[in-house]
Chain length 449, copies 2
């Protein structure tokens, strides 16, 4: 097995989870990882909180450095190495050592593509001006942090009201900026239905964030030094000395596509349930790859840390000779804006409608914990169920402390194929500091049947 | 239907949930509720926090008063009325009006017994001394509160380290008492396995509670006015001017048993899945009745507010002509000692062993949220699974903020019959302020397979 070499392209969550799993299963195997950036295995999700100052050092976001992988795991991680071509016929990749600008070929027996995703950037002149950032790699987070420290911006504009957008709104305000958020859509957080997203928008406005929906970016104005000065939309000009692009991501699949590997949903690399691509012994995992959706039974592209880690584990098992299927995604996600917790799973009403599924929904407002107990707060829960069967298809939660993680109960119930009645029947935990007698999730389920 | 009378014995969670459900389904039906105490529909679980001062008035623990039930729901609730006999032949109950000490008979077409449970008291002279309390009715909580206000006790002793015991330890210490807790068992919280309970005991000791396990109460010492002075165990004498009995409860089933209604598990009233007793048209619900256990498939007696409310709803549906089965209990419960959250569901290792089930277990320690995010804390998770199939049978959680309610994911997975692998496969929610990438529940599941 020693000469059966695994090459991994990309040294973050998916790539390193897979490499680590293979190392545990096959102690003698040759494993080489090429990472074009500076870091391995970092928490991209933690970057907003590092920028905001809640996490004191970017080092804290790194779970394992290249040195640890080399020393402790015997994984040959090479940072500043970019793979520029995959040669599927001769089973080798072309690599550029970015430090020396040298090129070389590296052969493989198994190849894992874990190239991640890249932030979308607007096709507008000046998008690369000084002061305009998109968050992707840890380095991009460090760059934002350093820019704020040095330039002391006072007016931040965020383009896009998704996860990154609302997290960045919180942390930039904490760093004393006036924060404006614009989104083309009629609502923030388009992964939630509008009435749920409106609760978030309302809270953001209450907290002093300027939120403009249905507003489209049309130009960037820069100064003589190519530094961002203002942002022009179809409705107004907004002064800005810091712009964050939170417009979503696209999978880094060109390298694979150029080698004739098939791409699929959202242009992500097509994989089977074992995470093997259209070419045998070439695997893909993480933000660059498709995932099977548990409810729609279609392939989708969802770029999230949990999925990347699970992809990596499953790919690692299969690459090292095991046989494990990736179980699928339910579309579960969570975030917060200040003390307002936001989570979702499964299908929203809109998504179910787009799929022409006949549904019923229920929305309730309840207390997070006993109404008489200190720290009680409001929580809104929306459930979506199949009309005939009552089978749960989705859930959305917006509320205060303790609200968000309740989405896991819904995600588990959906995965198990439970109906709303079966959710009512669940024996969930209750004590006044933790819940009402009927958990808010069950209050919603009681409304739906 | 107007003359089809429902009589309910007991006006707390189960009785009033049932009466309310029947009222909604059958607006014209005669409904009479006899409650021997002073209050209806109160949160017994909230009493420790009222005693401790976190809840400012006992009124806040009442969700609906007798006046509300009479005025708004047209339910004839009579407090201070004790039912002393059930005449199953003539379908009537004998009632004492405690205010006037008058007796009368009331007939019924359906009878719901919701008489609750009573705290166990030690069979030791002096157990009824001034300053010794057991928590059961709201009035008993008010009595403790008033005693503390008036007598200003300085040394509290709690007998029994279960839910009530550890909650009262917290709140009595907050009211500036030296608190000692004794338990006969080798551990506190016997619904958890010892190594998990030891984490709680350790925390209690750290916080200045004196905890003595394997110690047995042998006598109470009282002063000339019959007020508690000290408590004598098999090992020591402990000064005490307040004693709380937290020794568990027994179902109030004598009234039913005396009428020839069968009793079963733990001496609770035997019921079928529709909550009908051994005699047709006589129903039982709440702390006085049995429940079907989802995992053991045996009847059990578990006295908890969630179950009482669910019993009441199901009984109400059936009494009003519907047909609904009580889904069963998983043994889910949650509490806390200060900032340490404690929860459990399903079978503990000990319980599984007692049932001769071949199991495997895993215990892990993880972070409640991302280790680098402010407010992160430790959480210990123990899982119990069937050895052959890997099917999850139980879970226990002890940890800091955000730890406890994760038990709901385990309870849902157990109810769905999921294996540990299926728990690993769940798409649970992750963001740094809420979880690690692998939720602690999944970290434990990964250890078990």
């Amino acid at each position: 097995m020693k000469n059966n070499k695994l090459v991994v392209i990309g040294g973050d969550a998916a790539g390193m989870s897979a490499a680590s799993k293979v190392r545990r299963e096959q102690p003698d195997r040759d494993i080489v990882v090429f990472e074009r950036g500076n870091h391995t295995s970092y928490s991209a999700c933690g970057m907003p909180y590092f920028i905001g100052g809640k996490v004191k050092s970017s080092e804290h976001l790194i779970s394992r450095s290249p040195e640890v992988f080399r020393g402790k795991y015997n994984i040959d991680v090479r940072i500043h190495h970019e793979v520029t071509k995959i040669d599927t016929t001769n089973k080798r990749v072309k690599v550029t050592d970015l430090d020396g600008a040298k090129e070389f070929w590296e052969s493989w027996d198994d190849l894992l593509i874990a190239t991640g995703a890249s932030p979308m950037v607007p096709d507008i002149k000046g998008f690369d001006a000084h002061g305009i950032f998109a968050l992707s790699t840890l380095q991009s987070g460090i760059d934002v942090f350093n820019y704020i420290d040095k330039e002391k911006p006072t007016h931040a504009v965020i383009i896009g009201g998704g996860y990154i957008g609302i997290e960045m709104a919180e942390v930039l305000q904490e760093r004393s900026m006036m924060v404006t958020l614009i989104d083309m859509a009629p609502q923030v957080m388009t992964t939630l239905d509008k009435e749920m997203a409106d609760l978030i928008e309302e809270k953001m406005k209450e907290e002093g964030i300027k939120v403009f929906t249905q507003e489209k970016l049309s130009a960037f104005e820069t100064d003589a030094e190519s530094k961002i000065k203002s942002l022009i939309t179809d409705k107004q000009t907004i002064p800005a000395d810091l712009v964050i692009l939170g417009m979503g991501v696209k999978p880094n699949s060109e390298l694979a596509a150029n080698a004739g590997i098939k791409t699929g949903a959202g242009n992500a690399i097509q994989v089977n349930k074992n995470l093997e691509t259209s070419i045998t012994h070439i695997w893909a995992a993480g933000d660059c790859a498709e995932s099977f959706h548990l409810i729609t039974h279609k392939q989708v592209h969802i770029a999230l840390g949990t999925i990347a880690n699970k992809h990596g584990l499953v790919a690692g098992i299969n690459i090292s000779g095991g046989n494990q299927e990736f179980p699928g995604v339910a579309g579960t996600a969570i975030t917060k804006f200040k003390d307002l917790e936001i989570s979702r799973t499964g299908l929203s009403e809109k998504e179910a409608g787009d799929l022409n599924i006949d549904i019923k929904t229920a929305s309730i407002e309840a207390s997070t914990i006993a109404g008489y107990y200190p720290g009680t707060g409001k929580v809104s829960v929306k459930l979506v169920a199949e009309k005939q069967s009552g089978r749960l298809l989705g859930g959305q939660i917006v509320g205060f402390r303790g609200a968000g993680k309740r989405i896991d109960t819904i995600a588990t119930a959906i995965t198990a194929g439970m109906t709303a009645q079966q959710v009512i029947d669940l024996n969930l935990s209750y004590a006044p500091p933790f819940s009402q007698v009927w958990d808010p999730v069950q209050v919603a389920a009681r409304r739906i049947i």
